[in-house]
Amino acid sequence: MRFKTVAIAALATLAASATVAQARDQIRIVGSSTVFPFSTTVAEQFGKTTSFKTPIVESTGSGGGMKLFCAGVGTAHPDITNASRRMKSSEFDKCHEAGVTDITEVKIGFDGIVMANAKDAPSFALTKRIIFLALAKDVPDPNGGENLVPNPYTKWSEIDPSLPNVEIEVLGPPPTSGTRDAFQEIALEGGAKTFDWIKAMKKADKAAYKKVARTVREDGPYIEAGENDNLIVQKLAENGDRLGIFGFSFLEENRDKVKGNPVDGVDPTFEAIAAGDYGVSRSLFFYVKNAHRGVIPGIEEFVAEFTKESTWGPDGYLVDKGLIPLPDAERSEGAQSANAFVNLPGV
């Protein structure tokens, strides 16, 4: 009998605290770990300069963020999700099924993905095609012909005689990372497309094409170094023959240890990425759940803070954190539609 009362009391306490959870006066943000440094900087600034509470930013990865964001409307679900890629149509559909039908998309800027090595090591003049040949699982037969063979290359010089005669050893992020997704999609697939017959596969058999173009080799030369980019930088500094894949902001912070290699003749510099000349870069986004406007205080003000020139402009504080701003026209247009909370019609 007594046990029963205790159990009921415990459940009642849980239920009571559940009702407490219903009221929320703090913005909740989830999503990409790439956008995390920018989102948190804005959140902190927002908390300091307004009377609203500092938003809580969780680093769940782009996909994880979308899942939480699209789970439904209500204070138990996050208000904003960050993504280092656009929302997928499957995610858009999921959102709509769960009643999240009014979403505003805000593109905040670019992030370059660099292929870096130690500062004093020789420079690698890379192209997307070389990256594909070096890191894809199956590559076109080096003896000619339109057939695929398991990647036979072990040294860079085998791919292109102008490259150093060293073992291919590339440290990069694991499959759970958004950086990896983007790298596969932009660099590897970009390289695969330079073979006309692989490009032709896209029309014939899209799934097979994607598999060829985006699969990373698993026989050793590509080393999954974990999500921690600082660790990759450290390992590059130790051994000059290695290359590493990480975001531009880590290159910026570690210029004294590592340098970025040119891809298709363009160095990964701030200007080149901002102008869209550097090929391996991607756009960063956040998505706002408009149904929460007016329910959770401060969402409008947070979006306004994020889209201010002094935040995301070329002289804004996000640039100091490694964000590469959008071109002027796109930025002012983006700020307008963001602050008007234009509904995303579809993706």
């Binding site: 407490v20 989102s39 959140a43 300091k48 500092t54 921690n228 912070e253 210029r255």
Partner: protein, 435 residues
Amino acid sequence: MTDTSILSKTDYHTSEQAERLLKKRYRSEARFIFYGRLAIICALLILVTLLSSIFLQGYTSFYQHMAILEFDLKQELVDPQNTGDPEVIAKADYRTIVNNMLREKFPDVTVRRDRKALKDIISSGSDLFVRSAVMADLSLVGTRATIAVPLSDDADSVFKGFIDRTLPEDERRVKDNQLGWLDQLSEEGRIESRFNMTFFQVGDSREPELAGIWGAVVGSALTLVVTLLISFPLGVATAIYLEEFAPKNRWTDLIEVNINNLAAVPSIVFGLLGLAVFLNFFGLPRSAPLVGGLVLALMTLPTIIIASRASLKAVPPSIREGGLGVGASHVQTVFHHVLPLAMPGMMTGTIIGMAQALGETAPLLMIGMVAFIVDVPTGITSPATVLPVQIFIWADSPERAFVAKTGGAIMVLLSFLVIMNLIAVMLRRRFERRW
């Protein structure tokens, strides 16, 4: 005289072969001891390397270089109506005051780009330091006050010796003109290295010089209190029932096997359970120490139950028989005689379980405690993060100065763990009884 060595041989050994065997056994014993010592030396070396690398990396986070500057706290900027009202003064525009100070101190810096570079040598949170100095002494309003503000993380690294001045300018985080200004301040004696109080007073920040560990310490403490309040009574009660009262049958066997299995379940599984049960079903708030504590309590329960049962088992049966013999009931025997004797062992087990819970991140990921949270938590339902999560977030940040913060946070976490384990050892020493 006969040969003594032959004598002794025949004295102790029956044959040459036996002697050889004996030698062999001695050799293998010596080898074994050598291997054992080698293992311990290896382990110690690894531990020393680990600890010293953490220390070398982290000790710089405990001090911070401050710039001692003179701020003109003009009446019309701080409190134009001369109200003297702290609320008005708190809301004043201290950013402008900081900018004015820089303009006054370095009048020849006029180009916009250089002004920005100049602004970057002191912390972007300098205005908050000026404000708190004013709030602490309202009589400063309208005067010129000397206030210490932190240098930015990059400028701080210059004085900590992390910036190589010989590098070409474009490879250096701190540019030539910034180095010039810093040298000027340093020559004037305006740069001072102080104990980094901020680190122990505030929550997280994106600026390394403004980031603190206190939010995470409070979060960890709140989480552990919830864990302790739930897992200790439940664990001890379970252990007492299973050990002292439960009948030995298939059901209790099954329960026992399950408890032992649970102790080996990867902790992320408990996080998934927490997400499904506490967040989705009961609708408890995300990122709250309450939920974190519940999840960690589930994780530590098996440890506590197993340790408690072991210490109950270690109480000799004669104590129970004595209790029952003088007419005490079964419950009285257990609670008056057995439990007090088993308590030190139970507490040791509990503290070790708590120490384990203190170091967990994986289960907390699922329930939203891996998050950027600036405010120091105020209760078990306010959003919080914990020490190991803070370490993880800092280790993953691009800013170089967070490497030192990471080391500093690891040192704080390690010292908590050492303290908890010391308490466990002391409890054992003080109260343990041997029979």
